[in-house]
């Protein structure tokens, strides 16, 4: 048997030591830094993230690609490439943002008529129609549960960039639609661990408690927390359209809950808040007037 040169053995040992050091040093630092048992789980999700270990902060660059992959799967592979010079709407996110799901839209039909016979032949071998997984997929008869196939990409997007709020909200929406409220709650908790006090995640959590877990007390408390977190933000952040939309959504949810509980003074208070940001203040004013009549009637 050929004898191995001691230099090679030394090199092998050094490589092994270096590899083990990259694995254990971050863990050892975390063990020293986190003495409380309560923080154990919180930190574990971060230290266990393989992508963080491999790519460091550079992993955030890939998060958007992962989200796009979720949209690609949502369209069953029918998606423009970088050569098509056409942006497509992220249809996977539309329902989560309260927009109607446009299943028969031709706005994303980027292919157009084939320019030559080769392209015409090629289209027989690739996905060639605009479809959504949530509405039957390519065959038109697929179960809605097929939409679960987008979930790994949303999870990966959050692993790559834990501050990408949209991934959590879109994931929560589809998990709820797939009748998996427990998983949706866990996903939102993960989002809140990584983004403490995020009012959008708190609002979605409140909606989950209200609509899916039928726990109106928790829903109200979570929405109130979302409102407090929203109000604690900088004035610059509050003036953006998205932020105003969120404020409107939180306050209208609280107003509706107060109406259901016949707590009309509280409902008026929240409706007044909605009116400040609503694009239809007259309609809100009508609701306030009706609520004031009920208060007067009760007296």
């Amino acid at each position: 048997m050929k004898r191995i040169h001691p230099g090679w053995l030394l090199a092998l040992l050094l490589t092994l030591c270096f590899t083990l050091a990259t694995v254990f040093v971050p863990r050892a630092q975390w063990w020293n830094a986190v003495p409380r048992a309560a923080d154990w789980n919180k930190a574990r999700s971060q230290s266990d993230n393989v992508f963080k270990l491999l790519f460091g902060e550079g992993r955030r660059l890939f998060a958007n690609e992962m989200f796009v992959m979720a949209d690609v799967y949502f369209h069953s592979g029918y998606y423009p490439s970088m050569f098509d010079r056409q942006d497509t709407d992220r249809d996977v996110a539309d329902p989560a943002h309260g927009k109607a799901e446009d299943t028969d839209s031709t706005s994303d039909d980027f292919l157009g008529p084939p320019p030559d016979w080769l392209a015409a032949l090629d289209r027989q071998f690739v996905p060639n129609r605009h479809t959504h997984l949530s509405s039957g997929g390519p065959s038109g008869h697929m179960n809605e549960s097929e939409v679960q196939e987008i979930l790994p990409w949303l999870q990966l997007a959050t692993d790559m960039n834990p501050q990408m709020i949209e991934s959590y909200t879109v994931g929560d929406y589809w998990l709820r639609r797939l009748h998996k409220p427990e998983q949706a709650r866990e996903f939102l908790f993960e989002g809140l661990r990584n983004n403490p006090g995020n009012s959008e995640l708190l609002f979605d959590l409140g909606t989950l408690y209200d609509k899916d877990l039928h726990d109106s007390n928790r829903a109200r408390n979570t929405w109130l927390a979302a409102l407090r977190c929203w109000q604690a933000q900088n004035d610059n952040v509050k003036t953006s359209m998205e932020s105003k939309r969120l404020y409107g959504a939180i306050t209208i949810a609280l107003a509706h809950q107060a109406q259901e509980a016949d707590d009309w003074p509280q409902a008026i208070k929240y409706l007044e808040m909605v009116k400040t940001v609503s694009p239809y203040p007259d309609a809100i004013q009508k609701q306030i007037d009706e609520a004031e009549k009920k208060v007067a009637g009760a007296k």
Partner: protein, 258 residues
Amino acid sequence: MNTIWALAGIVIKELYRRKDFYVLFVLTAVLTVATGSVRFFQDPNIVRYIKDLCMFLIWISALLIAITMTARQIPAERENRTIFPLLAKPVTRGQVILGKFLGCWLASGIALAVFYLFFAIITGSREHYWPVLDYLQAFLLQWIMLGIVTAMTLLGSILFAAPSSTVTILFIVAGGILFLGRHLNTVALHNPEPVRSIIYTIYFIIPHLELFDVRERVVNDWGLVSWPACGLATLYAAAYTGLFLLLTWLGFRRKSLT
């Protein structure tokens, strides 16, 4: 024809004597199983990302096996000087080319069949349904594509000095066609003349390997490609394979073996 089959048989034996196939298969299996063991949202039925990865690995592995195996055939015969007793049998140079091509193509097909069997078992065990015809069609189309690649590599092994350069160049060419080939016409339309005409000419000259890539359809359950379209693609591949084999024979016919 017996001579061609005998030559092909030797090449097929080489497939299971060498480690390339085993290493690539184990790597594909380990990566697929490891990825499949990850549970997202405690849902055991999520499967498309596994299919996607497994198909990608199968394509890479099949290309690796076909190109590396074909690239070393004729240079190895020349280097070991076994080409001389072979040609003295009597075996014509055309028969050597055809025998080597057939052997490499069949060997690639055998390897590909094993990969697809693994793919079907892995996805079937997760999805609990077996679209056998879809997988068979994907396998056939990929195998036909490997025919073009094998013929192209055989031509490369006649033109280039060493198997390593043939492998590198063929990988770049095949990868480039698979990645860009489908989009060259779009790129051409966005360019002014004469660049447009040049790109369009390249678009029509190159063998469109991506035509045989039905991974997206298999992964996303689009169902079968129409058989007439498959027939047209087969004719297209046969034309290119024949052309490359003819060019290889023309190059090899007058090539000095010393």
